[in-house]
């Protein structure tokens, strides 16, 4: 498809997509209005369904007037970030080592299977007993949650390299390091990214569950406190905050995926192709 065709198509889609957005908004507003009316007339139990307007007011109260959410949110996000980075780095790193060393692969397998079969959350209290109530135990739990998907996917990606492509590299007298860097890692990239997306999706949940088990601060603790005193509007504010963060994390990982594994996406492939062509042309100009 030419660029002009694409522009024309996008032009045709424009108004329709605006109408769809409007429809979405209308449906959402009706639902919220029904909710509000339902609670005010007593059809819905206010204990489980706080008024949407109360929740809205709760955002103002928690974030601006009291401002107490920030420190809890910051702590939870720190646990999530450190746990995710350390856990997935450990997972990918170990998978690379295991993938490159054949005997290790054979003898590690039973342990991987046993550990994978164990529910991660069951180990939660054990970790908290070992590391204490503070943030270190939460980071450890998030690490545990974030370890397996990247580990398993990276290992799969590395083991599933095409035999002919390996022979092609070997026939060019590529070293082990060159085969690893130029073939195995890029080849495994889509799977590694898939593992990272899974890990990131479970990291936030892992941190919250860890905070539910035992902690003195964090979003999990805050939600527990509010539900404990039946302040449902405030509890909803916390949950909706986490929804928004979860959404942005998901979108961010998708964007990273499309950027790194560009060859899996047609439009991105075409864009990168054009960029490489102009980079080549610039070099040619620079030389003459």
């Amino acid at each position: 498809m030419s660029e002009a065709d694409e522009r024309a198509l996008r032009g045709a889609v424009g108004p329709t997509s605006r109408r769809i957005m409007f429809n979405h908004l209308a449906i959402l507003m009706s639902l919220l209005t029904a909710w509000e009316v339902g609670v005010r007339t007593g059809t819905l139990d206010a204990l489980f369904f706080p008024l949407p307007t109360d929740i809205l007011a709760g955002f103002w109260r928690l974030y601006v007037v009291q401002g107490n959410v920030w420190s809890h949110l910051g702590l939870t996000m720190m646990e999530v970030s450190i746990g995710f980075l350390a856990g997935s780095a450990l997972g990918i790193g170990l998978a690379v080592v295991v993938g490159l060393v054949e005997p290790l692969r054979r003898y590690m397998k039973p342990y991987v299977i046993i550990t994978e079969a164990t529910p991660r959350i069951a180990i939660g209290p054990v970790i908290i007993a070992a590391f204490g109530f503070g943030w270190t135990s939460k980071v450890a739990i998030v690490m545990l949650v974030c370890f397996f998907a990247p580990f398993v996917n990276t290992l799969n990606g590395m083991v599933n390299v095409d035999d002919d492509e390996l022979d092609m590299m070997r026939s060019m007298r590529a070293s082990k390091l060159q085969i690893f860097r130029k073939l195995m890692i890029p080849d495994a990239m889509p799977e590694i990214m898939g593992g990272l997306r899974l890990a990131m999706a479970s990291a936030l949940g892992g941190a919250l569950v860890a905070e539910f088990i035992a902690a003195n601060a964090g979003m999990g603790v805050l939600i527990n406190q509010y539900t404990g005193v039946l302040n449902m509007a405030s509890a909803f504010v916390c949950v909706l905050t986490l929804t928004a963060i979860g959404f942005f994390i998901l979108r961010f990982m998708e964007a990273v995926d499309r950027w790194l594994v560009f060859w899996g996406d047609r439009a991105r492939t075409e864009a990168v192709s054009r960029r490489r062509a102009s980079a080549w042309a610039r070099r040619e100009e620079g030389r003459t």
């Binding site: 095409d162 002919d164 492509e165 022979d167 092609m168 590299m169 070997r170 026939s171 060019m172 007298r173 590529a174 060159q178 130029k182 073939l183 890029p186 080849d187 990239m189 560009f262 060859w263 047609r266 492939t269 075409e270 990168v272 192709s273 054009r274 490489r276 062509a277 080549w280 030389r287």
Partner: protein, 265 residues
């Protein structure tokens, strides 16, 4: 750049056989399966050899042994007078699958062997572009494999093969996965290009007509155990056109090869 500059940089000398095989044998599974038994032959500089035979005749095994990807169980194989112990810089191989790296543009794929051997210079880049022009893909130098047809992908693989500068080219059914028309066209192109660069070529196929059309000599191979049954000389002058395949002389050679294959099968 002239064609002469695209010639391989290897060290061919006219009197020595480029490839010499003496009783090359390959067995798998503790000697239970004999993939190739006692292959004896010499290949002269610049010769085009087709290896033809049904599956299991050991033609791909032989090619992999010459490539240094596979060790032989018995016998000796030498290239330019040296015993083959592993992949060599003067031997390059092309596979039935294009084996292009999906995250590299056509030209980056062509430059892969240079990158593996060392630093990529402007001269290497120009050579890669010239080779893409030679294989008719200059306009697609910056396309990714997923943007190219199967035939175009194999042209990139062919350019990459030539970029190695090897003077011995091994092709394992390179166009076997393509449709009849594309394959015929690419065979003619291959003959022209290999002729221009003057490389010694081993070409594996299971198509008898294709084998004869391309080759100076056809190695007819038979299975169970894999064996080099007969060497057929192809006397036709070059350049050859596809019409050659309609002549009685050509068909007589086809019959000869077919008889050899049929007598054993």
């Amino acid at each position: 750049m002239t064609v002469a500059e695209l010639r391989p940089t290897g060290t061919a000398s006219a009197d020595l056989p480029v490839i010499a095989a003496r009783g090359v044998t390959k067995t798998f599974g503790d000697g239970r399966v004999v993939a190739l038994e006692g292959a004896d032959f010499d290949v002269r500089p610049g010769e085009f050899i087709s290896l033809v035979g049904p599956s299991g005749c050991g033609k791909s095994t032989l090619l992999r042994i010459v490539a240094g990807l596979l060790g032989s169980s018995a016998g000796s194989l030498s290239v330019h007078g040296e015993k083959v112990t592993g992949p060599r810089h003067d031997v390059a191989m092309m596979f039935q699958k294009p084996t292009l790296l999906a995250w590299r543009t056509a030209i980056e794929n062509v430059l892969l062997p240079t990158e593996i051997a060392g630093r990529v210079t402007d001269k290497d880049r120009r050579r890669a572009m010239d080779l893409l022009e030679l294989t008719g893909l200059k306009d697609f130098a910056f396309s990714f494999p997923s943007q190219l047809s199967g035939g175009m992908q194999q042209r990139v693989a062919l350019a990459r093969l030539l970029q190695t500068g090897a003077d011995i080219l091994l092709l394992d059914e390179p166009f076997g996965a393509l449709d009849e028309f594309t394959r015929e066209h690419l065979n003619v192109e291959l003959m022209r290009i290999v002729g221009e660069v003057g490389a010694t070529t081993l070409f594996v196929t299971h198509n008898i007509g294709e084998a004869i059309f391309l080759a100076d000599r056809v190695f007819v191979m038979t299975p169970r155990p894999g064996r080099l049954a007969k060497i057929v000389d192809v006397p036709f002058a070059r350049p050859r056109s596809p019409e050659l395949q309609l002549t009685p002389d050509f068909n007589q050679l086809v019959a000869e090869v077919r008889t050899t294959l049929g007598a054993v099968a």
